[in-house]
Amino acid sequence: MYDKTARRRRAVLGLLVACSLILLTAYFGETGSGTLHGVQRGTSEVLSPIQEGASRALKPVRDLFGWFGDTIAAKGQVQELRAERDRLRSEVLTNEIRSADYDRLASMLELDGALGLEDKGLKTGRVIFQSPTVWYATIRVDKGSDDGVRVGHPVINEKALIGRVTAVFGGSAQVTLITDTTTKVPARAGPRGEFGIVEPSSAGNPNDLVMTFTEPGARVSVGDRVVTRGTEPEDRQESLYPVGLPIGRVTRIENEGTDTQEIHLRPFADMRSLDFVQILTRPRGGGG
């Protein structure tokens, strides 16, 4: 009797392990439009309204958690903010002088027009799902193909670029963040706009990106802003990421001046507390 039970148990275990391995192999072997991907998308689409409903219902609880977290974080930041306040006071005087110069230069170079996003078909969406594992830096928003969202569209929040659309459903879309290990963004940094590729420095670290493939003599300093480049590095074609979207600020430079130079930056956007985002449904402007 025991032998029979043990045999049955082992047979089921073996069968389920085999099923898992077959699924893994088949999933890797097929394209994004394959059967398993289709089943996955279909199920996700069916469950999207449920997830959205649950997400809305639990918004007060999330806010409560956020309030506790913000309070604790705020206490720790008091000293830091006081020092920053003093520094900013002195900077205000300098900036007032620079502001007059800036207005003149901006009107000359039409920078306002170059960075304007009004014609990019902005769609504001709410985050309804965030990947529970740090290995997949993805979120889902409640705007989908019904709203004109397509795969590849860039996504921003109120501060900076946060990622791109990687899967679209009728009423929702999956966004892969710039902190995901699969993401690479053509970017430029520093006053001379040095070119490079921004990608995560390591898995599961939302506060550190790295800019690689820069020229060894690139003039980039700690504190410089990094923005999207606007063109693809391979063929110089227009990128889906419009030029000038802010990404982050340089925090340190490793192997400076060498071929393996790595410029580390901290993203402007806090990827762990995304609530509302905007999708650029016409990233190239006009009809997009």
Partner: protein, 187 residues
């Protein structure tokens, strides 16, 4: 080993589906100390401890597969790891039959650790081209602590859900027996 009945299978299916939906729609959006609780290994551990290795392994496979589908992750990864977690918890019950309040807590911590490490290993085997970062380890550790704290309530909840469909526990029957003995009536 508990042979799954139709009622038990129905309850396990509902529990697994509800658990994954709650996890993806709610729990994963409630960060605590920079990390999230992960109900999946706790649910699977609880089912393994209550129902045995066959039900535990099958439940782990099902929950993992559903989680992979819903989260648009690589199919088969979570199911393979959670299958091992459920089977291990079930074998613990069948081979050792541990008693005590702290068993679900220790088993929950072990299940979370096994899930985290197993998931990470599979990700690297599948070709994630990035080194392990300190924040990642910190998040795994934070999840481990949060899950350890949640293990007992989750176990109690799962037991409450499955109790009507489970065969009577011989241990509880034994414990109940003395209450009807003549000595106690005399006392």
């Amino acid at each position: 080993m508990t042979t799954p009945t139709a009622q038990l299978i129905a309850r396990l299916t509902a529990l697994g589906a509800l658990g994954v939906v709650v996890q993806t729609a709610a729990i994963s959006q409630l960060p605590v100390a920079g990390a999230n609780a992960d109900l999946s290994p706790l649910l699977v551990m609880a089912v393994g401890l209550l129902c045995g290795s066959l039900a535990g392994g099958s439940f782990g496979f099902g929950v993992g597969l559903f989680a992979d589908v819903v989260s648009l992750q690589t199919l088969g990864v979570s199911s393979l790891v959670l299958l091992g977690v459920g089977y291990g918890a079930g074998r613990l019950r069948e081979a050792r039959d541990p008693e005590g309040t702290f068993v679900p807590i220790a088993a929950g911590a072990a299940a979370t650790l096994a899930f985290g490490v197993g998931f990470a290993l599979l990700q690297f085997l599948l070709g994630v081209d990035a080194p392990v970062s300190w924040p990642l380890l910190r998040q795994l550790l934070a999840t481990l602590i949060i899950n350890t704290l949640l293990a007992l309530p989750v176990y109690a909840l799962v037991r409450r859900c499955l109790q009507p469909a489970l065969p009577e526990d011989p241990r509880r029957r034994r414990r109940r027996a003395p209450s009807s003995s003549p000595d106690l009536h005399l006392a």
